[in-house]
Amino acid sequence: MSTAPILEVQGLCKNFGGITALRDLGFSLRAGEILGVIGPNGSGKTTMVNCITGFVRRDAGRVLFHGRDISTRPPHRIADLGITRTFQVMRPWHSLPAYQNLVIPLCSPRARRTGGWRGGGSHGDRDTVGIDILEDIGFERDSPVPYKPAGTLPSGYLKRLELARCLALRPEIIICDEIFSGLSMSEIASLVPTIERLQSQGITLIMIEHRLRELFRVTSRILVLNFGEKLMEGAPDELMADERVREAYFGSRDSAEVMDHA
C-alpha cells in the first residue's frame, strides 16, 4: 500500500532526570490498522503514549499526524485533531453518572464540529448522544448501568467508559493504554469484538498490552519496546520466533510456554 501513514513517530526521546524513558523511537501507522505495543514494565510504553498525546513534552523527535508535526502541541489541541487516548489508571468523573461523563467530551470543540448531535440526535442534546455512545460501546441501555455514578461501576464498564470518552470526539486514532489489564477473562472476551468493531468503523488503534493472546487476535503488527528503545517490529509469529524478544520480554525460551502465561 502506498498511502501515506496517518501517524509517524521519528526519533522520539524522553529523559526523566537521568533515566532514559524513550530513546530514538520511531514507527509509523497506516490508517485503519491496529498496532500492538508490548514491552516489560518500565520499557517506556506509557511514556510513549504521553509524548504522542502531549501530556509529556518530548526532549527530541517528531510526531507527524497526516504529515504535520504535532509534537509541541498541548494535549487538548492534539485531542482536538483526533488523537485520543485511554488512561491506564482509569479516570472517570466518579461523581457523575456514566452517561454524564460523556457530556464533557461532547462539549469539546471537536465534538461540536464533527458530531452530528446538533439536531442529529433524537433530541439533539448531549445526554441523549451520551447514552447512544454508551449503548454502542456495550452498556445495556435499558438497565440502570448507564445512569449509575461512574465511581460505582465495575472495571469492565470503566474501560468501556474510557473508550466511550474517546469515541465522543469521533477520533481518527485511539491509543488504548492497557485496556485489557485488570479485567476478568469474560470481560476481556466481550471487549475484543468491540475493539474489532472500532477497527471496522475505520478507527486506527494503538494498543499497549500485556495480554498477548487477545492482542495477537486483533492485531497483525506488534512493536516491542525494551528500555525505551524499539527492540523489533513485526507480525506476532515473527515476534515469537525472535530470540531477543523472548529473552527481553518473556524471560523464557519456549514460545509455547509464553503463550500459556499470556
Binding site: A79, H94, P105, C107
Partner: protein, 337 residues
C-alpha cells in the same frame, strides 16, 4: 437462509428519564414539599428588613448579604471548579476601588458604578489570576491571598487613589430600603443562578475539571478557558460586594483588602455545608449576626467565635444545610441485625 429477525425494543427517551423528578407537578402535596424549603429562604430573606427593629440590625443584614455574596463565590470556585480561593479581600478591594473611582473621578451615579465595577473588576481580577490557573493544588490559594496584601501596600506606598486616607465623598444608596433590597435580590438571584449554572453542561465541564482535569484535557477541552470563565464569575460576585460596600459606607480605603473578607466566607461555607451554595448563605446568616451579638463580650468575642467554629468542624463537619436536607428527605429507624 432465513429472513433477518427483528425485535421491537422500547426505550425511555433521555428527556423522560431526566424529568422523572417532576412528576411531583401532579400533586399539590409533593409540590409543596419541593417548594417549601426554597420559598422559606426567599420569603424569609425578603421579609427580614421589615421584621428587624432598628437601623443597626438592618445594616447588619446588609453586611450579611455582602458576606453571603463572597461565600457563594468561594463555595462555587472551591466545590464546583476545584479552585480554593482566598481572594475575597482581593475582589472586594478591586470592586470597591473601581466603584469609588467611577463615582468620584468620573462622576458616575450609583446605578452605573456598581455594574461597571462588577464587570470591570471581574475582568481585572481574572487577568491578574490568569498566570496561576494552569497550576493545580495550593498555588491558586496562595496567589489569591497575596494579591490583597500587594494591592494594599501598593496604595499605601505610592499614595495613589487616596493613599491611607482612602477615598471620601462617595454617593450612598438613595435610602436604606434600596440598599437592603438591592443586596438581598442580588444574593437570591446569584444563588439560584449559580445553582442552575452548575447543572448545565458548562457546569458539568467545570465539575469534571475539579474531579480530574487530565481527562478533561484528553477530551480536547482547553481547561484554562473554563477555569478563567469560572474565576471571572466568582471574582465579579466579589467585586459586586465590594462596590456595594463602598456605596454603603460612602468611603473606600485599604481596609477593604482586609483578610476578614477572605476568611469569614470560608468559615460560613464550612458551617453552612460545603458545595451546596445555599449552605454558604445560611452560614453567613448565622455567623455575621452572631459576631455582632458577641460584640458585648469585648475581646472575648473572638474566643467564642473560634470555639463555635471548632465545635462545628468537629461535630457537624457536613454543615447545617446537608444535615437539614438529610432530615428533610430521609427518615431514620433502628432495625435489628
Amino acid at each position: 437462509m432465513a429472513a433477518e429477525q427483528h425485535r421491537k425494543q422500547r426505550i425511555d427517551r433521555g428527556i423522560k428519564v431526566r424529568s422523572d423528578g417532576i412528576y411531583a407537578l401532579m400533586s399539590g402535596r409533593e409540590l409543596a414539599y419541593l417548594v417549601l424549603p426554597r420559598s422559606t429562604l426567599i420569603v424569609g430573606l425578603l421579609l427580614l428588613p421589615l421584621l428587624l427593629p432598628d437601623l443597626y440590625w438592618q445594616r447588619v443584614i446588609t453586611i450579611t448579604c455582602l458576606y453571603a455574596l463572597l461565600a457563594i463565590s468561594f463555595d462555587f470556585l472551591a466545590h464546583h471548579v476545584g479552585l480554593v480561593s482566598l481572594g475575597g479581600a482581593f475582589y472586594v478591594g478591586v470592586g470597591g476601588y473601581l466603584a469609588a473611582l467611577g463615582n468620584t473621578a468620573l462622576g458616575l451615579p450609583v446605578w452605573a458604578t456598581i455594574p461597571l465595577a462588577t464587570a470591570g473588576g471581574g475582568i481585572v481580577c481574572t487577568l491578574l489570576l490568569l498566570p496561576c490557573l494552569p497550576l493545580r493544588g495550593v498555588y491558586f490559594a496562595i496567589v489569591t491571598l497575596m494579591y490583597p496584601l500587594f494591592m494594599a501596600r501598593l496604595i499605601e506606598a505610592f499614595d495613589i487613589v487616596g493613599g491611607t486616607d482612602g477615598i471620601i465623598g462617595i454617593d450612598g444608596f438613595p435610602n436604606h430600603w434600596v440598599e437592603q433590597y438591592v443586596l438581598i435580590t442580588m444574593v437570591l438571584l446569584l444563588l439560584f443562578g449559580l445553582r442552575r449554572l452548575a447543572a448545565t453542561d458548562f457546569g458539568l465541564v467545570l465539575r469534571g475539571i475539579k474531579d480530574n482535569d487530565q481527562a478533561v484535557r484528553a477530551s480536547g477541552i482547553q481547561v484554562i478557558r473554563y477555569k478563567a470563565a469560572a474565576v471571572f464569575i466568582a471574582a465579579a460576585m466579589g467585586c459586586l460586594a465590594g462596590a456595594c460596600l463602598v456605596h454603603i459606607y460612602m468611603w473606600s480605603g485599604i481596609s477593604q483588602f482586609a483578610l476578614d473578607f477572605s476568611i469569614l466566607p470560608i468559615a460560613a461555607t464550612v458551617i453552612g455545608g460545603a458545595g451546596t451554595l445555599v449552605g454558604a448563605v445560611l452560614g453567613c446568616l448565622i455567623l455575621v449576626p452572631l459576631s455582632e451579638l458577641l460584640r458585648d463580650f469585648g475581646s472575648l468575642r473572638i474566643v467564642f467565635y473560634a470555639l463555635l467554629l471548632v465545635a462545628f468542624i468537629i461535630f457537624r463537619s457536613e454543615g447545617i444545610f446537608n444535615y437539614a436536607r438529610r432530615k428533610y428527605e430521609q427518615f431514620e429507624r433502628w432495625i435489628p441485625i
